[in-house]
């Protein structure tokens, strides 16, 4: 049993390393070649896990080989558009200003009901609100709504608003985020003063402390969260 446990552990670590080498693309929306590789990895990992007669290398080597193949495909797809089109295909317009594009639906062997379902999943229950709908190479539907159906924005109402930046984590789960402290130039003493001001003795009790442009998000263990508008640690 120990053998099985250790084999399982090793295969898991190797699969994790391989997924990391393949990058975030693998975890997000997948292109066809990435989908294939993901399916194969799942099977490859389980075979030597379950059968202790099969050498571990019989699972590990194909996993690493797939990582190399994936890298080569990704690189060539980045460098060569023709190759990219061959491997991934092209996005197809399924709805245009004239309505549903039957010709393209036929080319992709798609049913109108599939398109309507995809539109609903994208949040569009009325096809008349759609200006263009494209079926992407990863199978998702991208929708460009008609101007009348687009949500109102501040820009439409000429309301000026300063740009808002990203929040920076300063403390998370009782630990300082040293990289971010260096990035923002905020030192620990300032943070200590701040948390003492809010009756917190130890930074280890802070679940989350985040600095935004317009305030500070402050959550202490077992206490209610506070958003301190217009405060800053800079």
């Amino acid at each position: 049993m120990f053998t099985s446990i250790i084999r399982c552990f090793i295969i898991y670590i190797v699969a994790l390393i391989v997924m990391r080498v393949m990058g975030k693309r693998q975890i997000a929306q997948m292109q066809p070649f990435e989908f294939v590789i993901t399916l194969i990895i799942a099977d490859l990992a389980t075979i030597p896990m379950s059968d202790t007669n099969i050498p571990l290398l019989n699972g590990i080597i194909p996993l690493f080989t797939l990582a190399v193949i994936h890298f080569i495909f990704t690189l060539t797809c980045c460098k060569c558009n023709k190759w990219r089109k061959f491997v991934n295909g092209n996005p197809m317009i399924v709805i245009d200003p004239d309505g549903i594009n039957e010709e393209n639906l036929k080319k992709m062997y798609l049913n109108i009901c599939d398109v309507i379902e995809a539109c609903r999943n994208a949040g569009f229950f009325n096809l008349d609100d759609i200006n263009y709908a494209l079926l992407e190479t990863n199978g998702t539907l991208s929708v460009l709504p008609k101007s009348d159906a687009t949500p109102l924005t501040r820009g439409d109402m000429n309301i000026k608003q300063d740009e808002v930046g990203l929040g920076t984590i300063l403390i998370t789960e009782g630990k300082y985020s040293l990289e971010n402290l260096e990035l923002t130039g905020i030192d620990k003493e300032k943070i200590e003063k701040f948390i003492k001001k809010h009756n917190v003795d130890d930074y280890k009790n802070v679940t989350l402390l985040m600095q935004y442009d317009d305030g500070i998000y402050f959550k202490v263990k077992n206490e209610k969260v506070k958003f301190l508008q217009s405060e800053s640690l800079n």
């Binding site: 050498p55 690493f64 890298f71």
Partner: protein, 127 residues
Amino acid sequence: MNKGIAVIIISILLVIGSVYELILVTSSIDEVVTKSNDIIVKLNSGDTTENVLSELDDLFVFWNDRERVMCLFINHRDMEKVGEYMQKARSYLQESDEEKALEEIKLLSYQINMFKHQSEFNAQNIF
């Protein structure tokens, strides 16, 4: 860039590992085949049981030594069969049943050659 370097290192290791496997498995198998053929020749020529047993023991020691590394590449169950054939041959020789011992050695030689065919880099193995 880091990912590219990692992939290059992995590719190099894969190639080196493959070459090492080919060399190790081929050389081990050739040695075992040579030794087992010697035993077959000795049995066929009616050599003394002690001499044949001594050859078989040498083969057994050699196999045990190589088995540890070859287990990384070859199915463990198949590897165990080789040891089994050797033990059976040994038992038959000790009982002076040279015919059965010869059969076991021939099976051993066949099994070993099967490993060689399986590990060779050729179109038959790819498909």
